[in-house]
Amino acid sequence: MQARNYVAPSSIDEAVAALQAGNGANRAFAGGTDVIIQVRENRRAVDTLVDIKSIPELIGITHKPDGGLRLGAATPCAQIYRDPQVKARFPALVDSASLIGGVQIQSRASLGGNLCNSSPAADSIPTLIALGAIAEIAGPSGRRNVAVEDFCTGPGQNVLQPGELLVALEFPSPAANSGAAFERFIPRNEMDIAVVNAAANITLSADGSTFQAARIAIGAVAPTPLYVAAAGQALAGKPVNDDSIAAAAEAARAAATPITDMRGSAAQRKHLVGVLVTSVLRTAIDRARG
């Protein structure tokens, strides 16, 4: 099938109105790399597709004076990973943005779309969670903020209410001596859906010997991407060594409740959680130490 209608509003208010008008049958789209195909393959029925790329606030990258980052929800991945400051200060975002699809997909796909599509295997969501990103939402009753770890509620489901639009993703300034990384496992080397993915964001003591704080998130092992607070807690205050890392990996494994499907078995996924959490922690440590 295909959508019946197309509109390209130029303001958030217009977009909200357009979304509201459909009584749930209208959908926003940014890159369209999920939704256009879902409609075509009869996985989703849409009356009007609301193209949000003409809304200035939804596209663009702002580096804020306090060191924080604001990403317009519809900003394509390619624009994100090409930004020199994003590269230097938020390398985990580059890890994610440069893995979504091939370059043809990255010219279009947005992180907002990745988040709002709310796939358990989405490759940016663990990174957004690990980085402590906040989703800024506009709707008929104004704006509200939701932490990304609370955003997804089930496979393909999230907190957005009819008429609501994701406007931007806000990231706090990376702490001193911090580092973050994202990785996924796929059977091929490109163009695949994650069997498991994981992100870590850690802060070390000034001498780099101790974990001060850590946020770890994993994907494709539960109905939504998971923030594993216990894995971060397992690291806080612990020395940077293999035992600490193994303890965090074990905590993440314990949190995973994967299923078996064509992309991987439950056992394989549990196993890979340990492998990937270990690996992203190592990269994050290297990055934190500069």
């Binding site: 496992f185 091929r188 859906i193 499907d261 992309r263 056992a267």
Partner: protein
Amino acid sequence: MVTKDRSSFKVIGTRPLRPDGIDKVTGRAQYGADIRLSGTLSGHILRSPHAHAVIKSIDTSKAEKLPGVKAVVTGADLVLPGKTLDELPDLSANVLAGRKALYRGHAIAAVAAINEQVAREATRLIEVDYEVLPVVLDVRESMQPGAPILHQAMRTRTPSGPGDAPSNVVAHTQVINGDIEAGWKDAVEIAEGDFSTSMVHQGYIEPHAATATWNSDGQVTIWSCTQGAFPARERTSTILGHPISKIKVIPTEIGGGFGGKIGVYLEPVTALLARKTGKPVKIQMDRDEVFEGTGPTPGTSIRAKLGATKDGKFVAFQADLAYENGAYGGSAANYATMCITAPYDIPNFHLDAFDVVVNKPRTQDYRAPSSPAAAFAMEQLIDELSEKLNIDPLKLRLMNAAHEGTRGPTGMPYKRIGHEEILEAAIDSPHYKSPLEGPNRGRGVASGFWFNVALRSSVNVSVQPDGTVNLIGGNTDLSGTRASLAMQLAETIGVAYEDVKPTVVDTDSVGYNDVTAGSRVTFATGIAVHEAGNKLIKEMTGRLAETWQVPVEDIEFEDGTFKTKDGAKSGTFKEIAQAVVGRGPGLTASGSVNAGFLQGGAFAHHIVDVEVNPDTGKVNILRYTAIQDVGTAVHPSYVEGQLQGGAVQGIGWALNEEYYYDEEGRMVNSSFLDYRIPTTLDVPMIDTILIEVPDPLHPFGVRGVGEPPIVPPLAAIANAVARATGVRQYQLPMSPRRILETTKDVV
């Protein structure tokens, strides 16, 4: 004609540009979906959501009432006069189901409408009442008593006559050579295993597409991206009961086939819809329809056992081979019995092969059909013996390799073949000589065999006023065969490659040609080209004799030049042609051959280095070399391309590709995303070594080169993985999941 001295070739062995190249790099070439006739209706097919079901009724009335819908057809429209739906032959029932849907994706009905959206919408309005039946998906389970029966009328063909009860086993074939019991007595080392491979698809990038018109006088024209316009015409004629002379099939450019575009799917359906509507009708498949509704290659189960003396001489081999034929009968396992022992001289063997139906799409050929799975078993057993006997795996193969005079796959002794030569080349190759170092790495080798399917070919050649030559053929060009045939004609008549203009035409415009498949075009059509070229020379010599006023016997033709024996008069082909054509009647000739069915033998040997990630189970291909006896490399670049493409398809088959089914028999990975054919990042450069042992059956020594390169990769990679991990792999694909399961017990 005697095989020419290799070094005397002028055109063969060079690397000219292909004649269809510019159209293909500029987007001008017309493939199946690019045909656009004015007033064309769009068709779409309704497919069974169930893998096994009785079709109790089909109600098309709602669909027919949808505005814009012009016609709906079902299997009932394929019932020929005097017959009933119960008697629908397999060929027809696979195109539009009869009483039963036998696999998920089985075509049930088709709609023609003013546009695609309406056609799709209409298929959803067709109401089918299914009685869902139990499914059987596994080849061994399907052979068991009590398995759900697909065809009540099917009786197993066995060496002792047909079976007496309904069965899913199409045929049991037995091949016995020597004295197997004596062989086992001589064997001191034995390797055995229970191997299995999954159903895989050819994965060509172009989905099937066809457009048909049906005129009021009964003249039918079909444009199709088929691998064989003539067989497509024949089958369409049979299915529709319409005379062959009234059907013209125009082959479009074709975006890959590898065997998968031999069968007919859309041709009869578009024709039927065109008849009903009086308008051109075009149908183009979606990618998931290609996976679920066309013909992949069988999954297999092979139990095999190989014995050798302590010196490494193979003395006994036994195998039980079961091949999934999909929903309807076929003969894949029968081929496997010919291929599995073909590379070696084994005095005693005993093979039992079973062709079996299961609730999966009717299988089709895929490059060297049946041989890769057979080699997956055989070449791993050899590897195991090489470890047990502590003999280098290449030397062990060389010691046992088949050669001229050895019993060949059809039971007849081989003529000249090159298995020994490629093994020697492998031993001498830079790849094999270089050490492989580092943890978790392993090197694997394997050989592979395929015949030349030869069959029938026809071409016409005609000389133009400027002395150039048109070469008219009927084989669709999948991989540069226009070039390889033009080169053979240029070689035959001694002109420059640029002076031959090859064209592929429709079924009305040239004599019969079998499909472009089985590595046959450069081989068999090449023979026809050579014959036509020689006839042309003969004709020209005759006419020249009159012009020059000398006896015919006094004129010689050599190196592209006609001359009198005394050398007094001479002229190049082009000069003479200009003169002769200028005056006399047009100069044309044709060549037609039936070069036999399974001919010759071509061998490939591959060497691969892998690294297996112990944490994730992922296999990384580090280095790859494909060696092959190509007979004579007509256009070496395109020959290399065949080796490289075949190797990479084999890598995909070995590592990730498979039809992944749920319990109800639904293929759940019917997209390029989840079917996972290799991308650029999954493979290294593929080194090639072309060995030329001319085939005595071909005037230029050509052997088919397209099929053998897909045979060794499965086993070569398995052998490499076994050496890297210490664990042998009996099941494909060797996906990360399976490697973790077998090496780390992650289950």
